[in-house]
């Protein structure tokens, strides 16, 4: 139990995530992907006569069960298997974040950004609402996210998925190193 409560290593996590690819294929011919659920949500709730959202989302309901499972699994892990110790983060990152007033590095998420109070500040608003918007817009424009392209697509040796993954990383590097410092100063 003690081992399970400690943070899991990258090779254990990577192996389990990699095995989700064949698990979904063998359980029902499903291709691993998450971001399409945003589209199903649009199709189910606000199709607004937009062609892109006029399809039978009920046929894709397995995907909604899959993300519901992610929610439940994360709840169970944080309730019953939580790491009793503080997070270990890179000292360089910790000291940089301290300059921006982010000192809570104990948990998985900094409370200075991920809290309802933060949502009332310009910084929190830009990060959570702006960031979420770009994730939803960008993943659908790219035709998939880290799951659909970087894991499923690369597993099937698809060149478009390699291009997409490279672009994801490029965007992340640009944001974290060049733009985020300005947002965190807001």
């Amino acid at each position: 139990m003690e081992v399970v409560r400690q943070p899991w290593s990258w090779y254990v996590a990577g192996s389990v995530i990699g095995l989700i690819v064949p698990a979904l294929l063998i359980l029902g011919n499903k291709h691993f992907g998450i971001s399409a659920n945003f589209r199903h949500a649009c199709a189910a709730c606000f199709p607004a006569n937009i062609k892109f959202f006029k399809y039978d989302w009920k046929k894709e309901i397995w995907n909604l069960f899959f993300v519901a499972g992610i929610l439940v699994g994360a709840f169970l892990a944080s309730q019953y298997l939580a790491n009793p110790n503080d997070m270990q983060i890179a000292p360089a990152l910790a000291s940089e974040l301290e300059d921006y007033g982010i000192a809570d590095t104990k948990g998985l998420l900094p409370s200075e950004i991920f809290s309802w109070e933060s949502l009332l500040s310009l910084r929190g608003l830009v990060l959570l609402i702006g960031g979420g918007f770009l994730v939803g817009f960008g993943t659908r424009y790219a035709g998939g996210c880290t799951s659909g392209h970087s894991i499923m697509g690369l597993s099937n040796l698809q060149l478009p998925s390699l291009i997409a993954t490279t672009s994801f990383m490029a965007g992340g590097f640009i944001m974290a190193n060049l733009i985020l410092p300005f947002i965190l100063k807001l």
Partner: protein, 184 residues
């Protein structure tokens, strides 16, 4: 197999709408090839609770997300600043295990548990993978979460992330609205 079960929800859809859906598939460019939508359509009709198997796989995924700290904003910042190997290890291992799995499925012609052939569909290149990909990456660098971890962060108790989720759905909606005008 299909005869023993209750009718699939699809069967209740009026014929007019069915026709529309199939027309859409034929006309709307890239809908079938780009997304997980409408790919690998099974001909088998199952009762809804057959979907619980995907819930079970999702639960395992959610546990790993939390336990390997993949939902952590800090781990993503470390990854994009080259301050930690952890996330590269996770993604690299997942891809290698995935490649071997897909190769084995193709080589031994492994079937689903319901006896259907497993199908793969090639993805088509377009500008969206670059433009959309960079846009997603920018958002990923801000929220520290790609779509899967958004759900896991909410499950792990960060309820404010539901705002991120709603915003992501809004982003997808806006993409759908402007889709025809965007370069692909």
């Amino acid at each position: 197999m299909a005869n023993h079960h209750t009718p699939h929800p699809m069967q209740h859809i009026p014929d007019t709408e069915k026709t529309f859906v199939s027309n859409l598939d034929a006309n709307d460019y890239e809908v079938r090839s780009l997304d997980t939508i409408c790919i690998n359509e099974t001909v088998l009709k199952h009762p809804w609770w057959y979907n619980l198997k995907y819930l079970a796989v999702g639960i395992i995924f959610g546990v790993v997300f939390v336990k390997a700290e993949i939902i952590s904003w800090f781990r993503m910042q470390e990854m994009f600043r080259l301050q930690s190997f952890h996330m590269y290890g996770v993604l690299g291992t997942a891809v290698i295990v995935g490649i071997i799995s897909v190769w084995l499925i193709k080589k031994f012609n492994i079937k689903t548990i319901h006896g259907e052939a497993i199908q793969f569909h090639p993805k088509k290149s377009n500008k969206g993978q670059i433009i959309g990909g960079v846009i997603f990456g920018l958002g990923w660098g801000m929220t520290g979460a790609c779509p899967g971890p958004i759900f896991a962060q909410i499950g792990a108790g960060a309820l404010v992330v539901s705002v991120v989720l709603l915003s992501a759905i809004a982003g997808t909606w806006v993409y759908g609205y402007f889709r025809e005008k965007l370069p692909h």
